[in-house]
């Protein structure tokens, strides 16, 4: 292995993973005190009406802890707990009757153990007929017209791409460019890192859409080394190669809560520019001479998972999507006493601010569920039942309305993070779809 390859393996690839996952982390570190909570069904999945029993084991050095103080809550995810208690576990284990659910949904058991002044949390979530969960959000009558008009307004502006080679990031096989293109109105540009295989030829492409937050991007060089053009974009219309400190500054406070800015107006909502940017990014990919003109996939996690669903629903040039823990699904769940998708705009904390007719109405034009309904192409989906950021109730709401070939890889105990095996599966799936024999 030469230095450059070593560098890629130990620096670029982890950076790629980190960027792919964006807001959420890749695998959580082990804890000294392990609070393991399990359901009594192997796959944590139940039919409505079936009871669930949660088993708790608290260990250190693989030994059950004696006399450990715990508190626990059980209840429908994101709702007020139906059962809670605090007690001391003589031998570090406990069985908790979780009850059942009468409607499809998710029932969570959260345990907090206190050991030597530190708190350790463990949770398990039982899914009740998750594939029967229906969304609470509705499709506005003019949903398609609204987005068609936004797209046609965009189409009038030329892409006007500006590419700046980043020599220090290039490899033997891949050219890396800081790229910006014209977005939905004059003065608005979209920035991203484009990685193109150097060897002359025609290649498939992968659009990588980001998780929430404000940051720079490294570009997905690893996939490009496989022979896939990658375009990893930012959503705030600023360069993605600036100093990390600047993005932190911008995030707190100026863009804190950007996902609520102008929510009362579907034409001015912050995400409008973002959704259009994703479509514009596809226009750009299609303009590349190295692109094979056909094989395009989109992928992302969290907000990026949402944007994958949305971009695929908006633009039928997308052939495949790989979607991780999607946000922005079934935003109105909270209005129906149920978990709603990130950013939880209508939950208790945001009730007085956002539960207003104009904002509820806007949310329907932007809910990933309503785009998911339009998806016709194969997709790979992965998440966990323990996700407290993007509630599985909301994610299944979107998944269940997708009427297209879909492969779901659930790793129940994961929260808003993935194991390397999940990432591996996604990469293999994308490589297979984009480079495999079933290319058209």
């Amino acid at each position: 292995m030469n230095i450059k390859t070593t560098l890629h393996v130990f620096l670029i690839i982890p950076v790629y993973f980190a960027c792919l996952l964006s807001l959420h982390s890749q695998t959580i570190p082990e804890k000294m005190i392990k609070v393991a909570v399990a359901c009594d069904h192997f796959d944590w999945t139940y039919k409505t009406g079936e009871p669930v029993i949660f088993s708790v084991r608290i260990t250190k050095n693989s030994q059950l802890l004696q006399d450990v103080r715990i508190s626990y809550e059980t209840g429908p995810e994101k709702m007020a707990p139906t059962k809670r208690d605090a007690l001391i576990l003589k031998d570090g284990s406990l069985l908790i009757e979780g009850g059942t659910m009468k409607e499809p949904g998710f029932l969570r058991c959260t345990v907090v153990a206190e050991v030597e002044g530190h708190k350790y949390t463990g949770l398990a979530t039982a899914g009740f007929d998750p594939e029967l969960i229906k969304p609470t959000t509705e499709v506005p009558a003019d949903f398609i017209q609204f987005w068609d008009k936004v797209k046609s307004d965009l189409a009038r502006l030329p892409v006007n791409p500006i590419l700046t080679l980043l020599p220090e990031r290039c490899t033997e096989k891949v050219n890396v460019y800081h790229t910006n293109i014209q977005n939905y109105k004059p003065g608005s540009r979209l920035y991203g890192i484009l990685c193109v295989p150097r060897k002359p030829g025609k290649y498939p492409a992968l659009l990588e859409v980001p998780g929430a937050g404000v940051r720079g991007y490294a570009g997905d060089i690893a996939m490009a080394e496989h022979g896939i053009i990658t375009f990893q974009i930012g959503i705030h219309g600023i360069p993605v190669t600036l100093d990390a400190g600047f993005y932190l500054n911008l995030r707190y406070p100026a863009l804190e809560g950007y996902y609520f800015y102008n929510l009362d107006d579907r034409d001015k909502y912050y995400y409008k520019r973002v959704y259009m940017g994703c479509v514009r990014a596809i226009d750009f990919i299609f303009s590349l001479p190295e692109f094979d003109g056909s094989n395009l996939a989109v992928t992302g996690g969290s907000q990026g998972g949402a944007l994958s669903l949305i971009t695929t629903g908006l633009d039928n040039r997308v052939k495949y999507l790989a979607c991780l823990c999607p946000a922005l699904c079934d935003l109105t769940g909270y209005l129906h006493n149920r978990a709603g998708g990130w950013p939880h705009m209508f939950n208790e904390a945001n009730r007085s601010f956002n539960v207003k007719p104009a904002k509820i109405e806007t949310s329907k034009y932007y809910d990933a569920v309503n785009f998911a309904r339009l998806i016709k192409v194969p997709g790979f989906y992965t998440w966990g039942y323990n996700d407290v950021t993007c509630p599985p109730t909301s994610m299944y709401s979107a998944y269940n309305v997708i009427n297209a070939p879909k492969e779901l890889y659930v790793v129940q105990e994961t929260g808003h993070w993935e194991y390397p095996e999940q990432i591996d599966k996604i990469n293999k799936w994308l490589i297979d779809k984009l480079l495999g024999d079933n290319q058209k």
Partner: protein, 437 residues
């Protein structure tokens, strides 16, 4: 021909419609517009453009080129209360390039504007004049909420326990013989938020008065008030978005037209989440920072600004009584609800949403102006299309403190160097205790 005309239109639309009130680094205020080849001059028939309610105004229009009247020039004109739909409009050909337009009067204190557009050789030339009717009798519409003081006391006390944690980074390339220039930042609103500005400190050991400069609307870098620092005044020029102020210009433009476009209306329906909350609190934290500087004399502090910065100056001086003087040009954020009463209101305009109206009362510079007790220098014009003079006078008239008003009627959202000079001298006199020549 037509293309340049369209370019001019687009430029005007971009500037006016985005309502961005910008400052272009040094000097202290944007320069006057450039001279035009065809001059459209409009003069009200009172030399000071000021009238009593009920008095008639006439606007004398003269269109010249090379100081000679232009023959057979097509014009359009409109007359009406500022910002409101015109009450009179016409389109005609002027044989000798002049006309006297009867403007009528106003029954209530306010401003009556006459706008003339002349078309010569395919180019359009626009000019305006505005008559003020009893401007000193204009009353604001905005009301003071009962819990206004509690709200702001709480906002300030919420951050009181947050340490300033100042960081000063010397910018050697900007330092002069007499002045050190720093990119300075402090924690200001919540943990992880930092307020940035350019701090200029006289190099010679000693104790100095200080000037806080608060910015006009927009997103931009800053260069510091270096000229006043040379006179022996510590100056701190801040940005309001919590981002560094020393980066390359293009990033700020991108933020201005994208992520932070219309920040002045973000979350306006909630007084605790409104974007301006961290801005107002930030300005008071900047005062804390100045007081923490060993070179500061501990007493003599002024605040200055224009447009959004004019509003912020009033607001900061009211929120923090350690400020001794304020000096402003064309303040924004004044009498924000004027438009609900068919009268010109202050920038920014925000519609009629009830919750936004309620929030606006906690943020309206008029309500802060009511509390001012300190001497102030105020300067603007009658022709301001961004900050309506009706709104500026509405704030000015409730100030019960020594105040010096320098009106240059024909100015719009810009100043002549003479105005800037006057303000500088005023500040130097107040802060340094000497009368500049």
């Amino acid at each position: 021909m037509i293309t340049e005309n369209r370019l001019l239109k687009i430029l005007i639309c971009l500037i006016v419609s985005s309502f961005s009130l910008s400052v272009f680094c040094q000097p202290l205020a944007p320069s006057p517009p450039v001279e035009k080849m065809i001059k459209v001059s409009i003069a009200p028939d009172h030399p000071d453009w000021t009238y009593k309610t009920g008095e008639q105004v006439q606007f004398r229009v003269q269109i010249t080129k090379n100081s000679e009247p232009v023959q057979n020039v097509q014009i359009r004109y409109e007359v009406g209360p500022e910002v409101m739909p015109p009450v009179k409009k016409d389109s005609l050909l002027l044989k000798d390039g002049n006309i006297v337009i009867k403007g009528g009067t106003m029954k209530e204190p306010g401003f009556l504007r006459c706008t003339v557009t002349a078309e010569v050789d395919g180019y359009r030339y626009r000019a305006l004049a505005t008559a003020g009717f009893d401007p000193h009798l204009i009353k604001p519409y905005t009301e003071l909420p009962a819990d206004f003081n509690e709200f702001w006391e709480k906002a300030k006390s919420d951050v009181a326990s947050l340490p300033l944690n100042p960081k000063l980074i010397l910018m050697p390339e900007r330092c002069t013989e007499k002045v050190n220039v720093y990119h300075a930042s402090i924690e200001y609103f919540k943990p992880r938020t930092r307020l940035y500005g350019i701090l200029c400190v006289p190099k010679k050991p000693g104790k100095y008065p200080a000037l806080l400069r608060v910015p006009g609307a927009g997103v931009r870098p800053y260069y510091g008030v270096t000229d006043l620092a040379e006179y022996g005044i510590i100056t701190f020029e801040i940005g309001i978005h919590g981002i560094p102020v020393n980066m390359e210009e293009p990033v700020y433009d991108l933020l201005r037209y994208n992520a932070l476009e219309g920040y002045w209306l973000f979350n306006m329906d909630d007084r605790d989440r409104y974007y301006y909350k961290h801005v107002y609190v930030g300005c008071t934290r900047a005062v804390d920072f100045i007081f923490s500087l060993p070179e500061f004399d501990g007493t003599n502090l002024a605040v200055c600004g224009q447009s959004q910065g004019g509003g912020l100056s009033i607001i900061t001086a009211a929120l923090d009584t350690r400020i001794k003087y304020l000096a402003i040009f064309w303040p924004a954020l004044c009498d924000l609800t004027g438009h609900l009463h068919n009268r010109a209101g202050g920038w920014p305009p925000f519609g009629t949403d009830k919750e936004k109206v309620e929030t606006s009362r906690y943020y309206d510079a008029v309500n802060f102006a009511r509390m001012l007790k300190i001497p102030g220098f105020y300067s603007w014009g009658y022709n301001d299309l961004s900050c309506a003079p009706t709104s500026m006078f509405a704030a000015y008239n409730v100030i019960n403190a020594p105040k010096e008003l320098y009106i240059v009627q024909e100015t719009g959202h810009w100043t002549y160097p003479e105005q800037v000079d006057r303000m500088r001298r005023w500040l130097r006199e107040k802060l340094l205790g000497t009368k500049p020549k």
